[in-house]
Symmetry: C2
Subunit: 309 residues, 2 copies
């Protein structure tokens, strides 16, 4: 099953022509999940030519303008297609007020259900089919959450030689065992999946963290991520000013990745507009000196997350 | 004095990668005036590399999402520069509520004065130096206004031969007369400007009309425009559906231009996203068959409005 991550925007604070505001789309089979939705997110979606109308859930880190002002456009767009499923919007307190006042003041025409769920405490905020999304607290100038998507464990690898040893005929019974079912053979013997399968295999993990101080607790949340998308707004020399604004540096992001452990790669995001595209290499170098598997996200980028085995 | 019009976006309803939402910037010496401000307007401004921080007034036609969702971003941006002058926002009822709730709900940091003026009746909404902007009512699914900017008359052409005949020495006295002042010569004679100047000359006129039925009253308002920017959302064959949504066709825009009289050129804008860039030629052909001086506005376009003489 494919798990693809699309970078819709990598910019922070103000959008630039080739750096729209921070927004990441995740596609897992039929599920399209959006993380943050700043101004021009709908344009980035169109550029990618995705079937954006199927976005099922939008996760908002916090209700600052550069993370939510693309929402009204997305809501309006969704009325232009035959949408039957509700759209879920999940975020910190005030997200409901933002959505509701936008619809009311702008007299938006909405022909489907919008369900806004405000996060009151950390934990599971979405239970999908074979995966879940959890929110965890960050520390910014207003309530802010990080998100992690974790797939359920997959059954272990099927060992045909073991099945043959047990005298199980190839076909439907093999398939039943592969999918975790217990079977009964014609001679009355019962075979459980663990008798023919290897150890359960880890599912994939994606995490999204932006607009926060580099809290040590973040490491625990994002450990073992196949992809850790993390704010890398400033160079290390600007750490003090970053902290004043409750932001982190690229180096701090890299330190979080190292102490988390098990992170396959980290994509920096939410760059300060003070850096030109070329100057972003400074952030990359600083982060890579600590966590080598760091890369710079760019608008339009697609990242495929593979199974470990 | 230069009068330049910049097309920041020519799209209607939803922005496309090369067709941002309807927004037009007008530059007249130090004055930067913005007409409508949909999502991604700030990106278009950056692409043009204009000194956008000096925008003095934003005129809003109506408070539908595709005409105002770029405002929070512009307001936020304006806090990033050393702005000392207030920013005026002028539009129909609800614009104040939109600006105020955006600032409140999104906790926007604003370090300058924003003065929102809701239009309660047609008339002058801005008095500039040697020009004024007037609002006039349109008919859409919610209160909507058109705008026209009219420059004051300029003094007539100076005739040096007349000045010489009257024995006025070249220099400061000529200049005084050219600028409309009355002078007294050393022999006691008084000379008024009309004795050395031709007829007062017409100032330039710009008008902006979008999201409306093609009311006959529009023609009266926009007559003699050097540039008439007008909605041309649909082809003629879709007139019925356009009217249901209180929009007009490109042909109707052309008919307004013809009956207005004195219009130098008309730029169509606010295209339906149903048309590809190529298909817009249909709208152009239909309008040009009625009003030949029609053109299609495009994102990034600059139009210089010249004096008649």
């Amino acid at each position: 099953m494919n798990l693809e991550v699309f970078i819709l925007g990598c910019g922070g604070m103000m959008p630039l022509p080739r750096r729209h505001l921070t927004s990441v789309l995740l596609r897992r089979e039929g599920d399209l999940l959006l993380f943050d939705c700043g101004e021009a997110t709908q344009i980035s979606l169109k550029k990618l030519n995705l079937r954006w109308k199927n976005i099922s859930t939008i996760f908002i880190s916090h209700t600052h303008a550069d993370h939510v002002t693309g929402l009204p456009g997305i809501l309006m767009l969704s009325s232009q297609v035959d949408r039957t499923e509700p759209l879920y919007i999940i975020g910190p307190p005030k997200i409901k007020e933002f959505v509701e006042t936008s619809i009311k003041v702008l007299d938006m025409y909405i022909n489907y259900d919008i369900i806004v769920k405000e996060i009151t405490e950390p934990g599971v905020v979405m239970q999908g089919e074979n995966f879940k999304v959890e929110a965890f607290p960050l520390e910014h100038t207003k309530p802010c959450f990080g998100y992690k998507l974790t797939e359920d464990q997959r059954p272990g690898i099927f060992h045909p030689e073991k099945a043959k040893e047990l005298g199980i005929p190839m076909g439907a019974l093999w398939s039943e065992l592969q999918h975790g079912g217990t079977i009964t053979l014609s001679d009355g013997r019962s075979v459980t999946p663990d008798m023919v399968l290897g150890q359960p295999r880890k599912g994939r993990k994606f995490s999204f963290v932006t607009d926060t101080l580099a809290l040590p607790s973040i490491s625990e949340e994002v450990k073992d991520s196949d992809l850790f998308i993390c704010e890398g707004m400033f160079e290390e020399e600007l750490a003090e000013s970053a902290h004043e604004k409750k932001h982190m540096t690229a180096v701090e992001a890299a330190n979080l990745a190292v102490s988390a452990g098990g992170i396959k790669k980290m994509g920096l995001i939410h760059y300060s507009p003070r850096y030109t595209d070329k100057e972003l290499s400074l952030l990359l170098e600083q982060a890579q000196s600590i966590f080598p598997d760091t890369f710079l996200t760019r608008d339009g980028q697609t990242i495929l997350l593979k199974y470990e085995d």
